[in-house]
């Protein structure tokens, strides 16, 4: 194929292609803390080895749910709430000392305190609805502000 009948047949021989190679050489920094957030998410979802199930109070007794199920459910709910909120992203969800820890980032311009409150309230409500019992306490931490 030629470019308007005058260019080289092979795009990689075009002089501009050197810029594509330069783009390939450009370093893309990994966001600070991303690896740790991933590890925390994975750790939260796989649960602690041998951890006992969580007992949630319910009418006439208690409901036992594994840590993994609670974290997976919380992660899915938090992601849905964040997507609907626009400008909020959930980085990680983990269960520490019987409480859910939700790590979130917000877009520049979004009020972090309002976003955190919204996430905490909605996640708590939705977990309660899905589990049929009061869920573990939900703590939201806004860990970063991103520009886009």
């Amino acid at each position: 194929m030629t470019d308007q009948g005058s260019g080289p047949a092979d795009p990689e021989r075009d002089p501009h292609w050197e810029l594509v190679r330069a783009a390939a050489r450009r370093r893309v920094p990994t966001p600070p803390g991303l690896v740790e957030r991933v590890l925390r998410s994975v750790s939260g979802v796989r649960g602690r080895r041998g951890a006992p199930p969580i007992a949630l109070p319910s009418e006439g007794g208690s409901l036992s749910v594994s840590e993994t199920v609670v974290v997976q459910l919380a992660r899915a709910v938090a992601a849905e709430v964040a997507e609907a909120a626009d400008g909020v992203h959930v980085s990680a969800v983990a269960l520490d000392d019987g409480e859910l820890q939700v790590l979130a980032t917000v877009r520049f311009g979004v009020a972090a305190d309002e976003a955190a409150e919204l996430l905490r309230d909605r996640v708590t409500e939705e977990l309660q609805r899905q589990l049929g019992s009061p869920p573990p306490t939900v703590n939201v931490h806004v860990v970063d502000v991103h520009p886009d």
């Binding site: 501009h16 810029l19 966001p31 991103h146």
Partner: protein, 193 residues
């Protein structure tokens, strides 16, 4: 070269058997690549982080079924690429790809003007950086069916065989897509001169 137990394959085997530390080593080793690919495909850093998070969770869930039919890194390329594509399908269609690699205001049209710069004087390095920004913006504007193979082949340096494996397409089909992508990219770069 890593010892057998520290190779990707060895770590994957141990992780599949329940060794959490082995999986964590894979996460530390491959997250920079996963983020780079997700960023180049989605164009947004926050979205790329989400993709990486989900990709690792997906990899953790799928690991017991991993049979080493491809290398671990190729498998992870596939997981993160599929995650990025899934996000693009869900994305609202109003996001401007011009925001992906913003360059200095008012300079976008001129970044590819003039001779391509190779010498490493400070001034020319700045011009070169702007030219590279323009290339990345042009890649981000490509149709996703062209952008993804181009990112994997030209920016990540995967072989044709690896890209075909990641995208689960035949090599002739991949070559055709890549050729169209390269022609489209060059067309954009020339348009902006």
């Amino acid at each position: 070269m890593p010892a057998e137990e520290d190779s990707d394959a060895g770590l994957a085997d141990r992780a599949a058997a329940g060794d959490h530390a082995a999986f964590d080593t894979l996460v530390r080793r491959h997250t920079p690549m996963m983020y780079r690919v997700a960023l180049r495909i989605t164009g947004g850093s926050a979205e790329a982080e989400d993709v990486v998070q989900e990709a690792w969770l997906a990899a953790w869930r799928a690991l017991p079924a991993f049979r080493h039919q491809s290398s671990v890194s190729t498998w992870l390329y596939r997981v993160v690429t599929n995650g990025a594509l899934a996000l693009l399908r869900r994305r609202r269609p109003t996001v401007s790809l011009d925001d992906v690699h913003p360059g200095p205001a008012g300079r976008r049209r001129s970044t590819l003007d003039g001779a391509l710069v190779a010498e490493a004087t400070p001034e020319r390095q700045v011009v070169r950086a702007e030219q590279v920004d323009a290339v990345l913006r042009a890649i981000a504007r490509l149709d996703v069916s062209q952008r993804v193979p181009l990112v994997l082949r030209e920016l990540e340096g995967l072989s044709y065989e690896e890209v075909a494996e990641v995208l689960e397409v035949s090599i002739p089909a991949l070559r055709a897509r890549l050729h169209r992508a390269r022609v489209a990219l060059l067309g954009q770069l020339r348009e902006r001169r």
